[in-house]
């Protein structure tokens, strides 16, 4: 499954000696092995800060406990643009950084949408929007049914992904039954075509969730939101980042009249 013969792979392997991996500052370099560029637009990094804070300070899961039934679960539902996710998993040692340059190639386990059977540490395969939150509800119910009340279940969705009706089935149900070990992280880069008038958090609150909205680039604010107590109810964190329309190349400046 690993390919270790290409030149770019050797470049990636050198990362391990050049600088500490387990560091937020290392992530752009790791992502560059997939994107070919050290500079990344807001779209590629919309999830990066939130993912880092979760894996670095909140989730109780590591390569050593990746199969432990009592580990915390993180389900990446928004499987599009998984470079930040792969970079974080590689930085945390779930798989070798040497895998990153193969991103999307036939022999690579790292697809443009993650596959849980191929990626160590990936709890679900995703790509089709709207599957992660229902799967997370089932996972939380399954853990509770086994008396495993300690593990937290986290799922990451996008604000456009919230358009999918399956999410609203899950939000309504989880709120009604008070699934308190369930957490939803919504990365809001204003990409939903029709927007969410009244705010995304209000959808969760109306269904009985605890919900808070924070700056998705502010690590301390993210950490505080992630660790906010929410007894007897599920918790949603809406992390606002730059609007997607400004992603990629800068918009041409308006010409002077």
């Amino acid at each position: 499954m690993t390919n270790t013969t290409t030149d770019t792979t050797r470049d990636a392997a050198e990362d391990t000696t050049a600088a500490p991996l387990d560091d937020f500052a290392a992530l752009p370099r790791l992502m560059s092995h997939m994107t070919g560029d050290e500079k990344h637009g807001p779209a590629a990094t919309s999830t990066l800060d939130a993912l880092w804070v979760l894996y670095d300070r909140v989730l109780r899961v590591s390569p050593a406990t990746a199969d432990d039934p009592d580990r915390d679960r993180f389900l990446l539902s928004k499987g599009h643009g998984p470079m930040a996710y792969y970079a974080v998993l590689a930085a945390k040692g779930f798989f070798p950084t040497a895998w990153l340059p193969g991103f999307g190639s036939y022999d690579s386990p790292l697809g443009h949408h993650p596959d849980r059977l191929l990626v160590p540490g990936a709890e679900i395969g995703s790509g089709s929007l709207g599957h992660g939150l229902p799967l997370a509800v089932g996972t939380a119910l399954g853990l509770r049914a086994q008396g495993r009340t300690d593990p937290a279940v986290w799922v990451l969705i996008g604000d456009a992904e919230l358009d999918e009706g399956s999410n609203h089935e899950a939000i309504a149900y989880a709120g009604a039954v008070g699934l308190s070990r369930l957490h939803t992280l919504v990365i809001d880069n204003s990409s939903a075509t029709h927007g969410w008038s009244g705010g995304i958090a209000s959808r969760f609150e109306a269904a009985g969730w605890s919900a808070t909205t924070v700056d998705g680039r502010d690590h301390e604010a993210l950490y505080a939101a992630f660790t906010l107590p929410h007894p007897d109810r599920p918790h949603a964190v809406v992390a606002r980042v730059e609007a997607k329309e400004y992603a990629g190349e800068p918009k041409p400046k308006a010409k002077a009249a």
Partner: protein, 300 residues
Amino acid sequence: MDTMRERFASVTTQLLDEDPRLAVVLADIGVDGFRTAAERHPRRVVNVGIREQLLVGVGGGLALAGLRPVVHTFASFLVERPFEQVKLDFGHQGVGGVLVSAAGSYDWPAGGFTHMAPGDIALLDSLDGWTVHVPGHPDEAETLLRHAAAAGDDKVYVRLSAQSNEAARPVDGARFLPVREGRNGVVLAVGPMLDNVLAATEGLDVTVLYATTVRPFDDAALRTAVAGATAADVVIVEPYHEGTSTRHANDALEHVPHRVLGLGVGRRELRRYGQIDEHLAGQGLDARSLRERITGFLGR
């Protein structure tokens, strides 16, 4: 005699007591049958309301957490409406579960086409690795449900029906059973079609095979039956879309020149209400129509 759905509730209630890994997920259909079970095992009997994408997604999530989910509603809302969830939340995640449907093809004719799913097995045929049981009697339903619950992490579909044969057969969750021996062809009757097939072939010199587990398809049983006939002529009578298993019969008989006639529910909408018997006749699946179609094919 209780119905297959009643037996499903009583057997699964018992299995929940015996197997701590088992969990039931419902979407407001069949909830009454699980009241006792829900009182005894409130964490393992879940009703998500009228939310079928969530129903199947929760099943997949329970499996990811290590449980064996039993997911139930009408076939149209279990397989057709959330088909992508069936495809991705079980198969693609590499987990298993038991989907138990009711009302498949024409169980509630007065309910009309919105409550009919004669294409359920054909849809599952587009996915890899699903075991499909189609019991023809409540006792067989019990046997097959017990098989399904105990089948490790397999993906299993159990298609319950309001139509039932008079007598139960000793089904084993795998093989086709020879019910009648003959020389002029082989008629494979699936689940609740057996009684009509037996009546239709009364006095004919044909072999009747009985199938309650249709996937995997019992190639060996069909080959053996065909080997005992003068011609490799096979008629398959299924209670869902006609021709659904024809490909499997062709594959099983690839070594010998053969003919296969697939009978079952047509793709056209009847746009009729009424009773099950009227729909069987409307689909050409009553004993008289079946005899005409079977003899017409074998006599050609």
